[in-house]
Assembly symmetry: C2
Homo-oligomer: 510 residues x 2
C-alpha cells in the first residue's frame, strides 16, 4: 500500500499500523503509558557493585526491552559494557530501544548474531552496524524514530522500556544524576530523562560518584532503582568535541549566506523570534550570519532550541538570545554553558518535540535550519540513507522541528562529489515535503510551491531563486543521473514518522 | 475492625481498603496511573477568555474529579472562583481533590449543600467548612491525605483528576506557569506540579500573563491544556506572611531549647546532616538554636527540606545549609529566595515524600521537628482534630516525614489553656507512635521506648527526661482529665496513612 506521499509500504510491514497521512493527521487523544514502581524505603541502598549485579537485580529477562541514551555519542562506553554483561548472563531476544546508535556500537553486530539483541529502535544508525543491518543482519526491521517520535512512542507505550541503563557524568548513591560535574561530561541528558520516567527499572551508571545530593540533577532519585559505579563511562573526546570551528568552505559559506538572507527576508526575523540551527558547516555558519544581522537590526531572539552549539552559547552570552532550550550538547562550550548559564535550560525530548503532548517547545519555533543528504522535487528529505542505499544517518529532530517551525529551511549543496543532492525521488523519506519551506543551495533557493506567501514575498529579494525542478536539473547537469540503487525486497528498517505512522521503509541493499 | 494501632475502623468504611499495619507494611510494586492527552498542534491557542469557557472546553461533567493546590493558602481566590463558575454551569456531584483547604474556602459549604461537591479529599480542613463537615455536612466522609499520601494516591490512580485548575502567580499564554514573577507570588508550586502531570485536563489560572517563555517554570506547557487570565488570583497578604517573627513566648523558647539540645546530642547532628522544621513558634525557634550550634561546632547541613521559612533561607545565605528542597513557601523571604538562590530547589510532592516512588527526599532526612495538637502515651500524634473533636488542622507532611526521618521530634507544650497535650489516647491519629522518637515539652523530653539506643545515649545528657506516662500525668495534674468528647457513629472523615491504608476515622461530633 502507498502512504499519502506515495511511498510503497509492504502489507506485512503495515500489520495494523497507520500509514503516514500528513503532518498532523494523527492527532487524537492518547492515553499515556506508565511504569511499574517498586517503592524504596528509607535506609535502603541503591548502590550496586557491578553492571552484572544491576542486570540481575532488575530482573531483566529474555524478550524484554532495554534502553540507553546517546548523549555520549562516539565516546559512549555504557551500551557496549551493559550489552556485553547481558550476553554473558545468557539473556536473549532483547529489544534495544536506544535514543540513537553510533559507530562506537559496532560490537552490537555480534550480539545480534548471537540472538542477544533481536529488535532495535533508534534514531540513528552509522558505521559497521548500520552497514550490516542494511545488508540484512536482522530478521526484524529496525524502527527508525525521530527524537520527538521516540518520546511519543515511550509516552504512548509503543516503546515499553523494562530496564533503562542510563550513563551519567555524575551521580550520588541515590540516583540523582547529571551530565555535568564529572570527568566525562555531556551536559544535557534530555533524551535520557524520558527513559527514567517511563522505564520500570532504571539503572544509573556513572564513573563519578559524588556526595548526596547531586543537584541540580537531570534525573531524580525518585525515578532511579539502582546506581552502579564503573571505571569509565566514556571517552570525553568522543562525547563532546572541542572548540567548534567555523567552516571556511566557500560553498558552505555561500549556502549559509543565502540561508540567513532568506531568514532575514522571510518575515519571521523580528525581535523575539526563535530558531534552531544544526551542526553542519553551513548550518553553524548560518548562526554566525544571523548574529551579525541581529546586531545590525537590534533584534534579540526569544529562544534558541535543539542540539546546542558554541555559536548559540556565544549569542546567549552576548545577550542576543534570551533563553536556550537544550536537549543535547554538541560541543564543550555548550556543555560548560548548561552548567553555568541560568537561562540555559535542560529540556527532555517530550518537551522538545513530542507531537502528542499538550504543546512541545518546537511548536513555538519560528525558524529551523536543517541539513539533508538528499531533497527531492516533492521537497521530501532524506537524512538516513546514503547514495548507495545504506543506512548512515539519523532521523534526529529533523521531521519534528520541520513540522513545527513556521519556516523550515533545508541547507544542502547541489551535489556532493559525484552525487546529486537534489533528486527526483529521495531514497528514504525522513521528513515529508509538506514540512519544508525553502531549500537553499550554493546556487540559490527553491521555495516550496505550497508557500505561495513566501514566493510572493521573495519576488524582489536579491537571492537567486529557482524551482526545485530547476535545481534538480542543475545538479543533474553537473553529475548526471546516478544508477538506481538495487534493493532486495526485504525491509531492513521502518521509518516511523513522529506521530507513529509509517512514512517509509529501507530495503536490503543488493 | 481494629488496625494495628488499635483504632476501630467500621466495616462499611473499610470496604476493601487496607487497614494501617505499620509504617512500611504496604510496600509492594505498584503500577503508576497516567493521564489522557489531547495533543496540541503548532498555532493552536490555549488562551481562553474566562473560567467558564475553560470549564466547558475541558468537558467537565457530573461526577468528575477536580483539583486545586493550596499554595495561595488563606489568600486563595482560585478555588472559590472556579467552583462558583462550575455551580453556575449546573455541574454536580464532583469530587474535590484539593491539596488542602482553608478558612477561605468556606463558600464550599453552599456548594456541598447544593450537590455541586459531594466528595472531598484534602490534607487540611479549617474554619467554617471544617466545622460543618465535623457536624455531618457531607454524606461521604472526607478523605484526609498527607502530602506524600496525596502524591502516592495520584500516582497510583486512587485520585484520578479529570480537571486540575491551577492558580499561578505568572504564566505565558502557552501554560508555562510559575509561583514567581507575578503580583501575588507563592514561590514553590510543589503541590501543583503533580496535578499538572496526572490530570487529564490542566487549566492554568493567572492574573499575570507574561511573555513567552515564562522560564523557569514550575509547570511546563506540555502538561497544560488551557490558560485563563483573571483579575486577581489571590490576596498577597494571605498567600505569604511578611517577616517571620521569632517567638518571645518563654514556654516555646524552652521547648525549642530542649529540642535543639536533643538534636545536638542525638548523634545525628554532624557535618552534612539534613533537617526539616515546621512553622510553629517553637519549631521556628529550633532553627535559630540549631543555627547557633552549627556555627559553634562548624557544622553545615547538606539540605533543609519542607515548607520553607525565613530561618532556613538565612542559614542558606550564611552558608550553613547547602541546599534547600522546597515544596512550599511560608513567608516572603522564602518566596524571594526560590526566585534567586541557585541551590534553593523547587520539588514536587512526590519527590518530597511519596512513600511509593523509588526514594523520596524525606528518606534522606536526618532530623524532623514537628508540632502536635496532642500526643498520646503510645506516641501517636494528632494534628487534625481539636479538643472538641472538630476538624481544625492539616495532615500535611507530618506522618510522611515522621516515618522517613532518622530522628523525629515532636514539640508540644504540656498543656494549652485548659487542654492537656499529652493524653492517654489522641482523638485522631495522623502519625503513628512508631514514627516518633522524642517528644519535647517545656518540662523536658520523653523518648519513645522503641528507641532504646536514644534512651541509652541520653542517659547523661542534661535535659530533664521523663517517660511519656509521666508527662501525661504532669499534664493531667495541671488541667485534670477533660470530659470525653461525645461522638456520633457517623464517620465524617477517613484518615488515610501515607501508604493508602486507613489509620483512623473522625466521627461526627454530637
Amino acid at each position: 500500500m502507498k502512504n499519502s506521499i506515495g511511498r510503497e509500504i509492504p502489507e506485512e510491514i503495515i500489520n495494523g499500523r497507520a500509514l503516514y497521512g500528513g503532518e498532523f493527521a494523527l492527532n487524537e487523544e492518547v492515553a499515556k503509558a506508565a511504569p511499574k514502581v517498586k517503592p524504596v524505603k528509607p535506609n535502603e541502598s541503591k548502590l550496586l557493585n557491578s553492571i552484572e549485579e544491576a542486570i540481575i537485580k532488575t530482573g531483566l529477562k529474555d524478550g524484554m526491552t532495554i534502553s540507553f541514551h546517546h548523549h555520549f555519542r562516539e565516546g559512549d562506553y555504557v551500551l557496549n559494557m551493559v550489552v556485553d554483561a547481558i550476553a554473558k548472563l545468557g539473556i536473549k531476544n532483547l529489544t534495544l530501544a536506544s535514543s540513537s546508535l553510533s559507530n562506537v556500537h559496532r560490537p552490537l553486530i555480534e550480539h545480534i548474531k548471537n540472538g542477544v539483541i533481536t529488535k532495535i529502535t533508534t534514531s540513528g544508525l552509522r558505521g559497521g552496524l548500520a552497514e550490516e543491518i542494511s545488508n540484512g543482519l536482522m530478521e526484524e526491521p529496525v524502527i527508525i524514530r525521530s527524537h520527538g517520535g521516540r518520546a511519543r512512542a515511550i509516552e504512548a507505550g509503543d516503546i515499553k522500556i523494562d530496564v533503562a541503563f542510563l550513563g551519567a557524568s555524575s551521580s550520588d548513591e541515590y540516583g540523582n544524576a547529571s551530565g555535568s560535574r564529572g570527568t566525562a561530561n555531556c551536559g544535557s541528558l534530555g533524551y535520557a530523562k524520558i527513559d527514567a520516567e517511563y522505564a520500570d527499572k532504571v539503572v544509573i551508571i556513572t564513573d563519578c560518584l559524588v556526595d548526596f545530593p547531586n543537584m541540580p540533577a537531570s534525573i531524580l532519585q525518585n525515578n532511579v532503582d539502582y546506581v552502579v559505579k564503573v571505571d569509565k563511562i566514556g571517552n570525553p573526546s568522543g562525547i563532546a568535541s572541542g572548540a567548534t570551528r567555523y567552516t571556511k568552505n566557500p560553498k558552505e559559506l555561500l549556502i549559509a549566506e543565502y540561508a540567513s538572507k532568506a531568514i532575514v527576508e522571510s518575515g519571521y526575523f523580528k525581535d523575539g523570534f526563535s530558531f534552531q540551527t544544526g551542526t553542519g558547516g553551513a548550518s553553524l555558519a548560518v548562526s554566525r550570519f544571523l548574529r551579525d544581522e541581529m546586531i545590525k537590526k537590534g533584534i534579540k531572539a526569544s529562544f534558541a532550541l535543539g542540539g546546542i552549539t558554541k555559536p548559540m552559547v556565544e549569542m546567549y552570552e552576548e545577550g542576543l538570545i534570551k533563553n536556550i532550550f537544550d536537549v543535547q550538547d554538541f560541543d564543550l562550550d555548550a556543555v560548560a554553558s548548561i552548567g553555568k548559564n541560568p537561562r540555559h535550560y535542560e529540556i527532555d525530548s517530550s518537551f522538545y518535540t513530542n507531537p502528542h503532548n499538550k504543546g512541545c517547545i518546537a511548536n513555538k519555533l519560528d525558524v529551523v535550519v536543517l541539513s539533508a543528504l538528499e531533497v527531492d522535487t516533492d521537497f521530501n528529505v532524506n537524512v538516513m540513507t546514503g547514495s548507495d542505499g545504506v543506512l548512515r544517518g539519523a532521523s534526529g529532530g529533523h521531521c519534528d522541528t520541520a513540522a513545527c517551525a513556521k519556516l523550515t529551511i533545508i541547507v544542502t549543496p547541489l551535489v556532493r562529489g559525484r552525487i546529486p543532492c537534489i533528486v527526483d525521488s529521495v531514497n528514504t523519506v525522513i521528513t515529508p515535503g509538506e514540512s519544508i519551506d525553502i531549500v537553499v543551495t550554493e546556487l540559490g533557493i527553491a521555495i516550496n510551491p505550497r508557500r505561495a506567501d513566501l514566493i510572493e514575498r521573495f519576488k524582489d529579494v536579491d537571492i537567486p531563486a529557482y524551482t526545485i525542478e530547476e535545481l534538480r536539473k542543475k545538479a543533474e547537469s553537473i553529475v548526471g543521473i546516478p544508477d538506481k540503487i538495487e534493493y532486495d525486497d526485504k525491509v531492513v528498517a521502518i521509518v516511523e514518522y513522529r506521530d507513529g505512522s509509517i512514512i517509509d521503509v529501507v530495503r536490503k541493499v543488493k
